[in-house]
Structures are given as C-alpha cells and as structure tokens.
Symmetry: C2
Subunit: 122 residues, 2 copies
C-alpha cells in the first residue's frame, strides 16, 4: 500500500509483523547508480528520516536496510525496525525463521501519521 509520494519517490508498506517500509523511485531504474543525483539524495534523506522516526517511536534493537531487486529489477529500498524477539532476529528477514514471535508494538497507524506529518513539513 502506497502511503506517500513526491516527484522522485514513493513509499509503500510491506505487510509484516515488524514495521517495514519500501522506498521506490518514480522513474524505473535498475540499479542505484543509474539513478539521477536528486533521486539518490532523496532516497538517502528518506532512509535517514524514516530510521530516526522508527527508532524514536518503536525503540527497536536494530534498523535493517536492504536493496536487492533480484525478483523485481527496479530500484527499491527496504527499511525495517528489528526486535530481539521478532521471528527472524538476528537473521535478516530473508533468513531462517528463529521462533514464533509475539510482538506487542505500538500502532502502525500512529507511526504512519507521524511519518507523513514529518515528510509533509520538510
């Protein structure tokens, strides 16, 4: 589900037990180095901003960032808040499942509202 867009990028939610967003470029690029400078900078800015908000709001044990695109060869970045008791920690979310997690996290909708507020102000 798309929750934000501007001229350069858009942000989608990835359905998961953890807070997980994906940043896509509006223009289709295969690789990060193919992006124009403004788009690269915008991705960096958004990763930075989302990360700070995730840390403030969820107090996760770690933030994870990844850009693969092996199935969908189009630049997109994943940003995830990870918790010691989530189903995969300390493995990446693409790794081996470690346990059946029962996370009790604050409401994502509240995080989303804070994020949008922050993005629209800047």
């Amino acid at each position: 589900m798309k929750i934000y867009e501007d001229e350069l990028v858009y942000i989608e939610i990835e359905k998961s037990e953890i807070p997980w967003l994906k940043i896509f470029t509006q223009k289709k690029y295969k690789e990060f180095s193919d992006c124009d400078t403004l788009t690269k900078t915008r991705i960096l800015e958004l990763l930075d901003k989302i990360e700070r908000l995730m840390i403030e709001f969820y107090k996760p044990d770690k933030i994870n960032i990844a850009s693969f695109g092996n199935y969908l060869p189009q630049v997109h970045f994943h940003i995830m808040a990870r918790f010691k008791n989530d189903s995969y920690f300390p493995e990446p979310m693409w790794g081996q499942k470690q346990r059946v997690a029962r996370l009790n996290l604050p409401e994502f909708s509240e995080f989303q509202a804070k994020l949008l507020n922050s993005l629209l102000k800047s």
Copy 2:
C-alpha cells in the same frame, strides 16, 4: 581483509563465490542515522562507485546492497554483484540456497586493483 581506508570509512572483502565488499565506518555508530553527514555522504559515494565498477567489470545480473548489523550492531554496508546462476539467486545471499553454483568470474584481484586506482584518484 581490509583493502582500503580513509578518515571516514574502510572497505573489507567478504569471502564468497560472488564479488562482495563491506564498507565500515571508522567511528563506531550503531545506526546509519547516527553517522555524521560526511560519513553518510562517503558511504553513499562509495556504494555508487563500487556498484558502477562491479557492473562494468563483472556485468552482473543485479547489484545487492544491505545494512543489517543484527549480530554486530555497528554500521556497515554490504555490496554484492549477483548472477542468475550464483548459489542463492534470486534469493538474497542470506536466503535459501537454490543450487550448487559454478561461477566463472574474472579475477577479483584485477577488480580490486581497478577499485583502488579509482578510489585513490578521487
């Protein structure tokens, strides 16, 4: 093995069947957003430069970038050249093994020489 360093970051090789480098910050930061602006920009620059060189030299099917730090909570970025016939493609290198690969790639030492040359010139 460390192959490059400057005041802000250093680069290590990850032993693998694929070309895989890791960029670490010299100062220990837990999260990307904790880094000072110069360090963030330097990471971005190096990802961009390494990616371009990997594409030019190896002609991979996709570049993968990731920053987890769940085991080692210290900012470091992985950058990998991926090939359709590598052992994990299209899964991330942390995913399920897909096959026993027999890659026939150009010499890493030649890539390393080109990279160092490019880094020292800039």
